[in-house]
């Protein structure tokens, strides 16, 4: 009877240590995962910040290049001519379609 009681205690202690070990493992695993995730977040935030600054720089550059003065210079270089007059087609109000 006493031996059986001793065996039960051993099992109980073993199981307790096993559970404790499992919990410690889970904790270490979780901490490791968190550390990894945090590192990745940090890396991504740095990349995000770099990209944001690059975008800001590109936006500023785009704004400065997207002006009529620059377009006009470019058009002149390409030899475009300014139109002097626009002719509108006059359609009589009574006519819906006509043959030409």
């Amino acid at each position: 009877m006493a031996k059986r009681k001793k065996d039960n205690s051993k099992i109980f202690i073993t199981l307790s240590f096993a559970v404790l070990g499992f919990l410690v493992f889970c904790y270490v695993f979780q901490v490791s995962q968190m550390a990894q995730a945090s590192y990745e977040i940090g890396q991504k935030q740095t990349r995000l910040e770099t990209s944001r600054k690059e975008v800001a720089g590109l936006e500023a550059s785009l704004l400065q290049n997207n002006t009529l003065e620059k377009y006009e210079q470019k058009l002149n270089e390409m030899g475009y001519q300014k139109i002097d007059r626009i002719d509108y087609v006059v359609v009589s109000s009574a006519v819906v379609a006509s043959r030409r």
């Binding site: 109980f12 935030q45 720089g57 500023a60 704004l63």
Partner: protein
């Protein structure tokens, strides 16, 4: 024994858990929340300003700049040599900037290119770094500079919209809770920046503004003028579609510019309009039923004798027997003096001050708008001094801002309905919410019939009078020339009277005359190469009006091929 110890240990843990979770639960919860989040104070980005169709007039952007931490630099000479090669400046200059620096940091160069940034970062010199700063950017340089104003070094808006809307563009600082992980990394994605957005959308059309500034610059240079302004507005809404001024300035480099160019002369200076005022006098006389376009007047002397004064026509020309429509066609002073005389000073002044509101600001959303009180005219009314009203009838001796006379002409063109307020704001964005500007009110200053008769008389000026260079085949254009003598006071001289050589030359017109879409004022200050506005402001008006007619694709009033010469109106 072991079992007992385990029970004891378990009970201890349970007791501790009860203490942590229940007894002191709320305390630890608050403590944890404090560790997991930080209260972040964010100053909102200054609101951007856009033209009508979304092109940027002013924006706040982060820009890189090169700075050195003076105390961290080990060898200034070597550092200066390395930096100077990259940024293309003299080594001595960079050396002097670093060695003469006071304080911790010294900025070496702003507006760095991508290549410069990469090259500097690859140097890896201690104390040399790329930093970022918010900078107000005006990408169109001088275009619309007097509308925008600028942001000074202290972040305060100066002149124009930047000053008028300084507080709403600045916005309010915001506090928000941001989450951090156990290692202290901030989750930057949690902020909601859209709710902080501020901005302005203007009624000004970028294309028309650009064209107006180009025409004005060429005109000022060609006619040898000291300065000039062009205003274009929609008479049916009171919205400003262009407000050009030359000389102007680059708001990005306001520190290097002439201070006198900062003010917006369209709203911050007054002038004597001269003959472009004549249609107002004629409109008053028509509206009061004292004249018709066919009413005859007699000019046998080339001047009118008023008390001890002789008030002359331009170049003292004698016109003989003429009709009222010719007083505009040939800009005859005697004709409009007669019209004013028929109306009487009391009624004329009532229109001037109370209906057209020439003594009151237009209410446009630009900093520093002024208005003349025209006290001399009021004094003349009280003391019955007729000569002041005789000269006022053709726009001398009365002062107004260019925008005030544009508002009056909006009324003349828009069936007699004058906008109470001129506006340059289409919509405002405050804290992410849009506020549309649609609160325009109108005042009936003259009848619709008078407006139509006047438009016809002004079309006659363009078809057969001094405004002939404003003619655009296919369209009826209404207009009036103006050449006013400049007072010595306006020339900055401390004496009474008028210069015999210095003039304001202007042209005021609207198109299409019988269904107006826009009103344009062209004004040149003291052109040296032309005697009258007929050959200066009028062709400039023509160029801008033609551009807008084409740009807005406004259909012609008649087939231009059928009327290649001027048309008979009367």
């Amino acid at each position: 024994m072991v079992f007992f110890l385990l029970i004891l240990f378990g009970s201890g843990i349970l007791a501790r858990l009860i203490d942590l979770q229940i007894v002191k639960g709320s305390f630890y919860k608050a403590l944890a929340q404090g560790q997991q989040s930080v209260l972040s104070q964010t100053a909102p980005k200054r609101g951007d300003i856009y033209f009508k169709n979304g092109e940027t007039l002013a924006a706040t952007k982060e820009e890189p700049f090169l700075r050195v931490c003076v105390q961290d630099i080990e060898n200034i000479e070597e550092t200066a040599a390395a930096i100077s090669q990259i940024i293309g400046e003299e080594k001595e200059e960079v050396f002097n900037t670093i060695s003469g620096a006071e304080g911790f940091y010294k900025t070496i160069k702003e507006n760095l290119s991508k290549e410069e940034i990469e090259a500097i970062e690859s140097l890896e010199i201690k104390g040399v770094e790329i930093a970022w700063q918010n900078k107000r950017l005006y990408p169109n340089l001088n275009t619309g500079s007097q509308i925008a104003g600028f942001l000074n070094k202290d972040g305060e808006g100066q002149y124009g919209l930047e000053e008028y809307f300084n507080s709403s563009l600045t916005g309010q600082e915001k506090f928000e809770n941001k989450k951090v992980n156990p290692w202290g990394f901030l989750f930057s994605g949690s902020g909601d920046s859209s709710s902080q957005e501020n901005g302005l959308y203007l009624t000004v059309d970028y294309n028309i503004q650009f064209e107006a500034e180009k025409i004005l610059k060429e005109g000022v240079e060609k006619y040898g003028a000291k300065a000039g302004e062009i205003i274009a507005a929609e008479p049916t809404t009171g919205k400003i579609i262009a407000m050009a001024q030359y000389p102007n300035f680059d708001p990005n480099k306001y520190g290097e510019e002439e201070m006198e160019n900062f003010s917006n002369k369209s709203v911050q200076t007054t002038f004597e309009p001269g003959s472009i005022f004549k249609p107002i006098t004629i409109a008053v006389a028509l509206n009061e039923g004292r004249i018709t376009p066919e009413t005859v007047f007699h000019d046998s002397l080339g001047y009118r004798q008023i008390g001890g004064y002789k008030v002359y026509n331009f170049s003292q020309k004698i016109w003989g027997e003429r009709k009222m429509y010719e007083s505009l066609q040939y800009s005859i002073n005697v004709g409009v003096m007669d019209a004013e005389d028929l109306v009487g000073n009391n009624i004329f002044y009532d229109y001037f001050a109370n209906k057209f509101k020439f003594n009151e600001k237009t209410g446009v959303e630009l900093a520093g708008e002024i208005s003349s009180q025209n006290r001399e005219l009021k004094k003349s009314l009280d003391n019955n001094i007729q000569v002041s009203f005789a000269t006022a009838s053709f726009g001398q001796g009365v002062e107004m801002t260019p925008l005030q006379i544009v508002r009056a002409f909006c009324g003349l063109a828009n069936g007699g309905q004058m906008p109470e307020k001129m506006t340059i704001i289409e919509k405002k964005v405050a804290g992410g919410k849009e506020e549309q500007n649609d609160g325009q009110k109108f005042r009936q200053v003259i009848s619709k019939k008078t407006s139509e008769e006047l438009a016809k008389m002004m079309v006659n000026v363009v078809e057969n009078g001094y405004g002939h260079l404003a003619r655009i085949p296919g369209y009826y254009i209404a207009g009036k020339t103006g050449t006013a003598q400049m007072s010595y006071a306006s020339l900055g001289q401390d004496k009474a009277g008028y210069s015999t050589t210095d003039t304001w030359q202007s042209f005021m017109g609207f198109a299409p005359a019988y269904s107006p879409r826009f009103v344009i004022l062209v004004k040149l200050d003291n052109p040296a190469n032309t005697l009258t506005s007929e050959y200066s402001a009028v062709p400039m008006f023509h160029d801008l009006a033609r551009y807008i007619l084409n740009y807005w694709q406004i259909a012609p009033d008649y087939d231009p091929d059928l009327a290649t010469t001027s048309q008979k109106i009367y």
